[in-house]
């Protein structure tokens, strides 16, 4: 059946997000909280994540442009925190690196890592958006994608 094939494909896409290191266990924790009564929970959380992350990245960019390192600690903590919630592995790693550079006062390192953060974030966002779009169109329940 064509539908079965599609389902398999989406399941593979989901698995690749983990295999390629984009997402970690925290994402699975989120999926576990989704059920029939809350069928869009993961997507809702991820949407909030986009919103908050976009705002934070914006703030950090502004701060970087004036080399305002002092305001970083709190901004950074928030940023790293966000990525924990949905298990954004690669972005999290870049953020941690960014925080180290900031603490060391390494301006060039900061700017470089920040560009990486934006890149990884954009990549992840793209992949997640595509994933959720297909899920939505196929109206697949999560349980059918997760292999036991």
């Amino acid at each position: 059946m064509e539908r079965n094939q599609l389902r398999r494909q989406v399941a593979l896409t989901r698995q690749s997000l983990f295999d390629q290191g984009f997402l970690d266990d925290q994402f699975i924790q989120l999926e576990d909280l989704q059920d029939d009564a809350n069928p869009n929970f993961v997507e809702e959380v991820v949407t909030l994540y986009y919103r908050d992350s976009a705002r934070l990245i914006n703030n950090i960019e502004k701060a970087l442009s004036v080399y305002n390192f002092l305001s970083f600690p709190s901004l950074l903590d928030f940023l790293v925190q966000q990525h924990f919630y949905i298990g954004a592995k690669k972005v999290k790693a870049e953020c941690t690196l960014f925080r180290e550079y900031c603490r060391a006062g390494n301006g060039e390192g900061c700017t470089r890592t920040f560009q990486q953060i934006k890149k990884e974030y954009a990549t992840l966002k793209g992949k997640l958006e595509a994933y959720f779009q297909v899920l939505f169109h196929l109206m697949l329940p999560l349980s059918s994608l997760i292999s036991q």
């Binding site: 925290q26 909280l33 809350n38 908050d52 790293v80 919630y85």
Partner: protein, 211 residues
């Protein structure tokens, strides 16, 4: 009649200024079958609890409370709050709750995204039951049940009405003077337990025999 153990849901008040955090903690709590109310600040939490300002400290004089100020104390079994919040931090909220005579026995749990030992100790010393590191997991929420059950059991240990009656009787009898006792015994010689304090003292406040 003895207090009846009901199967009512535990009601948890969640406090966090971040929407994503509120969403997560609310979902985690609801998954564990708790009733949840989520607010976005310490101030709103206090309002919800019916603690407005500082008229809850110890014994406040009635004149400090306006005549038509009606305290509506919500039935809450636990409060879980973020530490870092603008305005009133989770620690400030914890202190205010512990100072309140109505809510000081309600278990309070603090959440934080940072693992700062001094912060954790400070909160635990102030009376927080648990300190969770974010992101909070389902396994953390499962740790809450014993604290909630403890609170509920305390209610069930209150002396039953029968115990209250015994206490009242023994108080009355102890206050009774000898003349009254003698007169009573003369009138009603067969009313043995009522007039007999030693006999009454062999039972404790719940009406069970003392060892």
């Amino acid at each position: 009649m003895a207090a009846v153990a009901t199967e009512t849901q535990f009601h948890v008040l969640a406090v966090d200024d971040s929407l994503i955090d509120r969403k997560l903690i609310e979902r985690l709590l609801k998954t564990s079958s708790y009733q949840v109310t989520a607010v976005d600040s310490g101030r709103k939490a206090l309002e919800f609890l019916g603690l407005n300002g500082d008229d809850e400290h110890g014994d406040s004089s009635p004149s400090s409370v306006s005549p038509d100020h009606h305290h509506q104390h919500m039935e809450i079994n636990m409060i879980i709050t973020d530490y870092c919040m603008p305005g009133m931090t989770g620690y400030d909220l914890l202190k205010k709750i512990k100072e309140s005579k109505y809510f000081k026995d309600i278990p309070v749990v603090i959440m934080s995204s940072e693992n700062v030992p001094s912060r954790i100790n400070k909160c635990l010393e102030e009376g927080a039951e648990e300190f969770f590191l974010k992101p909070v997991q389902l396994s953390d929420v499962n740790k809450l049940r014993p604290h909630l059950m403890k609170g509920r059991c305390k209610e069930e240990d209150q002396p039953s009405s029968r115990g209250k009656l015994w206490r009242k009787l023994s108080t009355l009898l102890a206050e009774q003077d000898q003349d009254t006792t003698r007169a009573w015994k003369w009138c009603y010689p067969n009313s043995f337990p009522i007039s007999n304090l030693p006999f009454l003292n062999r039972f404790d406040t719940t009406g069970s025999k003392k060892i």
